[in-house]
Amino acid sequence: MQRLKLFIPLIIFLVLAAFFFVVQKRIGSGDYDPQAMPSALLDKPLPAFELPDLLRGDPVSAAVLGGRIALVNVWATWCPSCHYEHPYLVRLAQQGVLILGVDYKDEPDKARQWLLEKGNPYVAVVDDRSGTLGLDLGVTGAPETYLIDARGVVRLRYQGPLDERVWRETLQPLIERLQQEARGA
């Protein structure tokens, strides 16, 4: 009986190893990619939500975007890369890019202080302290940014901080194409 106890570490390890093996196999065969977005939302409408505004307290929904092409940016004060990303968002906002903020699983006081100190690039900030909108979006970590077209459909998901390079190489070309689409339609 005493001897059996000593097998516990081995059993735990074997379970873990089997788990990693399955994950690796699925990555290898291409039907699972931990780095990529679950494609569930791509080309689907932004999930409906109505949550309080972080600053004003009144309910916000996707209507605030008014059928314009916009970015939905998921951020939090506890997220290191958000610190890095924030000044660039401020610059994008100054260039006239419409950004809806989702303050994800955060302390509202800290978040308000952050916006006060660093500037507010957002047209509105959804206070998602329980993470429900994040769950609907399939957020895996902050920061994450979604590109929403004029019909409110998710066209791109970007994980990680936005910067000049991402904007130039990924977002801007797609936005230009969407604008042309909108004009053509």
């Binding site: 570490p9 081995l10 957020v139 902050a142």
Partner: protein, 660 residues
Amino acid sequence: MIPELGHLALILALFLALALALLPTVGVIRGSALLMHSARSLAAGLMVMLSAAFALLAHAFLNNDFSVAIVAAQSNSQLPWFYQFSAVWGGHEGSLLLWVWILSLWTLAVALFSRQLPLDLVARVLAVMGAVAVGFLLFMLLTSNPFARSLPNPPLEGADLNPLLQDPGMVIHPPMLYMGYVGFSVAFAFAIAALWSGRLDVTWARWSRPWSVVAWLFLTIGITLGSWWAYSVLGWGGWWFWDPVENASFMPWLVGTALIHSLAVTDKRGVFKSWTVLLAIFAFSLSLLGTFLVRSGVLTSVHSFAADPTRGIFILAFLGIVIGSSLTLYALRAPAVVGAADYGWLSRELFLLTNNVLLLVAALSVLCGTLFPLVVDALGLGKYSVGPPYFDAVFVPVMAVLLAFLGVGPASIWKRSRGAQLWRPLLPALIASVLVGLLFPIAYGGAFHAGVALTVCLAAWVLFCSGVDLRNKLRHAASWQAGLGRLTPSYYGMLVAHVGLAVSVAGVGLTSVYTQERDLRVAPGQQVEVAGYDFVFAGTEPARGPNYTAERGVVLVSRGGRQLAELHPEKRRYHARADQVMTEAAIDAGFSRDLYVALGEPLGEGAWALRVHYKPFVRWIWSGGALMAFGGALAAADRRYRLRRATPVPAAGAEPVPAS
């Protein structure tokens, strides 16, 4: 031609490692002293071959041989030579070579400093280390050859080292970290050898102790440097992120800390043997797990190397063999019967066991936080991220309890302490630390703050208890000088390391609470005030580095009209990396505070976004790390580890070792 020689050296190293794993094993089984003796020479040969491979790869980097694929991917002719050298381990393949080269250094060190050990034990230990080297060399040669060429059309210029890694801290951080990771392979090999030979006795613990302490101290230095690098390079003043890869280095540290304490109990009192062996296996397994997580592409992290599932499967198989077989061996051979406990409540044994349990709980909670998103995702239950809120909530209480016990532990004695004997000398320390804890936030911050009070109280508790313990040790000496001289280096090492932990904890707590940060728009000539310091932004000037151009800001810092520093934060543009922009913060470091200035974005007309941080006691975090490492060095330098030859170890229950 030279890279091919390097490749050849790697192949030869593989064969030497195979021989090292097999020949001494056969020697042990057949009782052949000749074969057992071959272990030492094979270890030397392995080290020579891997040193040659490493030197030849470094040669390719320093001579800008862009026909070698990883040189083209990670280096550049404009890079200063020391960064060209550190670029060797700036990617997956090269860092793997560094790993296995360091393994060969540890193997040779064991071969050289084990003259007083029984021959069959040396043969077993070296064979285990050889087997680990075989795994890594196979992995390198089959999936990630560092000498692979991109012929016939090699690029004319390299893509440059990631600018984040172009920092002095990053030159030494990976080698230190790997010295620690790989160093635990020695404790692991000793544990396996002990299980294998069936001689899981006190002497095994004594032999493992200095090796484990040295590995632990390197890991401490490595983690401290990594944290300092994050602070000075990532540009927003953070020093720990609970990033999966940081966690990967932190878990072996926590378990390694438990291991060096548990080894002390096994060495002195002969108890907790199974437990200590298990910790030795865990410490090295977690080092391997860290290596796996970084390279398999399973985790998303700022640190991760290019993902490649074939590599992932290979490492997983390797992990399965190493950890699976060692845990099987453990389950079959570890002493299952717990010896009659001859230690009571309040004994030092029990305090050290508490330390072990707490550290293991901390390591497990970090492991859960790191793996939880993976497990949930793979089970199709959705994607989660576990952020700092989880880790802070779990980790802080465990650390608080650990520190509370840490004060009492050293004052306790083996077998059993009498309650009153233990508490009476510590009572003044308790009162003093509570008072200091309560008063500090009011005196320093102007208002009471529970978190600060608790942090300061615990740090002061550890400090005062160490002081009380030192005074007690000097009680019977003729003079305090004589008393100090009589205490052993390992005792001083323990004191210094414990005080180091208190210093780090104080730094972490105070920085987290009292940091002030402002992000401001500043025009040239404009003055801003943060935490009583005046910062005058004098404007920016263009600057040039070897492989980048920069805008260099000039910020004059003064307090009460007296100028303190001139800071030069930079915004760098690295040309070979498609003009990748990097923020180089400027820091005025001080004992009780850092002033941290980083340039944000240019806002036109000479104005800039400027980030100014006032970070009190942040330097204490790394000073504490340095103290802990120094304490480890003192303990490892203790003479009693080198005086073993005088007291021959009885090889009770050993297989007969034929005379050579």
